[in-house]
């Protein structure tokens, strides 16, 4: 009995997962960066919960939002540039969504 191992399959998994992950994470991070550039800093307070983790208090969240607004006011970008950055941000998020959907379609079709 010969044991045949398809090593290339492991490289396929590594390659596909690596490309998929880096595209999703990279573009999501880029999208966030663009949002910040557009002066719309995301301040997301954690949902209710829990005792074990550092949860941002309401006060801290307000402070963060204020700092974000201040940073946005100081931004030397013109309105047009900000709009552009915002569009770019949404485009990045769209790329993420497309990558995820594309990956799932590939699996289902196969």
């Amino acid at each position: 009995m010969t044991v045949v191992i398809h090593w290339e399959a492991f490289f396929q998994v590594l390659g596909a997962a690596l490309v998929g992950t880096l595209v999703v994470v990279g573009f999501y991070a880029l999208g966030l960066r663009m949002l910040v550039r557009a002066g719309r800093v995301p301040v997301v307070t954690p949902a209710e919960f829990t005792d074990a983790i550092t949860v941002i208090s309401e006060k801290e969240a307000k402070r963060a939002a204020k700092a974000a607004a201040k940073a946005a006011r100081k931004s030397p970008l013109s309105d047009g540039q900000k709009t552009l950055a915002q569009i770019a941000a949404y485009a990045c998020f769209a790329v993420c969504a497309a990558a995820v959907l594309g990956g799932i379609v590939l699996i289902v079709v196969k």
């Binding site: 044991v3 997962a17 690596l18 999501y28 997301v44 074990a52």
Partner: protein
């Protein structure tokens, strides 16, 4: 023939029970990070995980085909033994799972399942019953390689996420926005879980159906009603398991930052989905653990706690042979005792299930048994509160200090 039919019914029941406990146990894997970083409310997280497990189970049946068609070689001379051997294998898997829960050892339900099946087949049929090529290339090697793959990818992704969002001017970096992203990535993990873990039970049931002749020999794809049954069982297990975890959550959590959690989950989901597509039957727990460790290492100044890593690794390596041993023992009883052996096994299985049920009813739930090994593996990485500066940050700080010193000098 009637006993065979009875045994197949028992196999299906036991397999579905296994499916249920799998979902029950693994909710934490998918939903630990978003709950820990506060991306999702626990109630929403659990509902989402259950729903997506259900969907995932329908997406791909490659893994089911691996289990039903590749691992065990069908041979007409031993076909009559097969249903009781599968039964014995399941008992091995469930017993080992329960033992590890009671002892708080890290383990993998999937490997327990394979270990039990292989052990039982080895005793009942002998070496010729196992297709070692498939076992090696679709179970053992993926078990070793996939967590490393996921860890490497998570490491790179975490680095990338931090690199892109890092700012040197002290303005807000927007990393809190990764919390939104985590809602999607954790959903993907739940979906991936369905494409891999639900499949294993489908594979086992299909194997039993084939062995008793209720499904054609060459046809290894699970029937639609098998898919539906397994999908709903794992979703139900996920849903119910979640409540138990929520009740005890907050004790075993590690420090996971949103950006890191996002990267880790994307890597987990991508690795599992890619593997499912190729029919690799992996342990989703181990892949998720690999990602959490890798992403922890991606944070600056982090260090590995080798003792914790070692403990986790030993549990992983032990699972396959240990479950195999229990499965072999159960199979031995069947081979020696025939119909009576199956009865003895059934009684033992019932005892194990009842013990498991009683155990789950008990309120003394600790971080060890309620929270997943994934959270445990997070503790394998030590991350300092104040990470060391990047070269550019260090340069900026030196420049600031110089400017300050200069100011002081002129002011005097």
């Amino acid at each position: 023939m009637e006993t065979a039919a009875l045994i197949v019914v028992l196999v299906i029941l036991l397999a579905l029970f296994f499916d249920f406990t799998n979902g029950f146990h693994d909710t934490a894997n998918a939903m630990a990070t978003p709950i820990a970083t506060g991306a999702l409310k626990p109630r929403t997280a659990v509902m989402l995980a259950a729903g997506l497990n259900l969907v995932g189970a329908f997406l791909s049946t490659e893994v089911a085909a691996t289990v039903s068609g590749g691992i065990i070689q069908e041979d007409s001379s031993t076909a009559h033994l097969m249903p009781s051997l599968i039964f014995a294998g399941l008992i091995g898997a469930i017993t080992w799972n329960m033992l590890t829960w009671l002892l708080g050892l890290p383990s993998s339900s999937s490997h327990a399942l394979f270990g039990g099946l292989i052990g039982a087949t080895l005793v009942g049929v002998g070496l010729s019953g196992i297709n070692f090529g498939v076992v090696l290339s679709k179970v053992v090697l993926p078990a070793l390689i996939a967590p490393l793959t996921a860890g490497l990818i998570a490491y790179l992704a975490t680095k990338l996420a931090y690199l892109i969002t890092r700012r040197y001017d002290g303005k807000p970096d927007g990393r809190s926005g990764f919390r939104w992203g985590q809602i999607f990535t954790s959903s993907l993990v739940a979906l991936a879980h369905g494409t891999n873990d639900a499949q294993k039970t489908m594979g086992v049931i299909t194997l039993a159906l084939i062995s008793v002749g209720w499904q054609a020999q060459g046809d290894h794809q699970p029937h639609i009603y098998v898919i539906v049954a397994c999908a709903f069982t794992i979703a139900l297990g996920t849903y119910l398991g979640g409540w138990r975890i929520i009740r005890t959550l907050g004790k075993g959590l590690t420090d996971v930052k949103p950006a890191q959690g996002f990267a880790a989950e994307t890597s987990t989901a991508a690795t599992i989905l890619a593997s499912s597509a190729l029919g690799f039957a992996l342990s989703t727990t181990q892949v998720a653990s690999g990602s959490v460790i890798g992403s922890g290492l991606g944070r600056r100044g982090s260090a590995v706690r080798w003792r914790t890593v070692g403990r986790i690794a030993v549990g992983w390596v032990l699972t396959l042979p240990a479950a195999g041993l229990v499965g072999a023992l159960a199979a031995f009883i069947v081979v020696v005792g025939g119909g009576w052996g199956v009865l003895i096994d059934a009684v033992l299985a019932l005892a194990v299930i009842v013990a498991l049920f009683l155990r789950s009813r008990r309120n003394a739930v600790t971080a060890n048994n309620a929270f997943s090994e994934v959270a445990d593996s997070g503790r394998a990485i030590e991350v300092p509160e104040e990470p060391p500066l990047t070269p550019r940050q260090a340069r900026a700080q030196r420049a600031r200090e110089r400017a300050k010193a200069k100011e002081k000098g002129t002011g005097r």
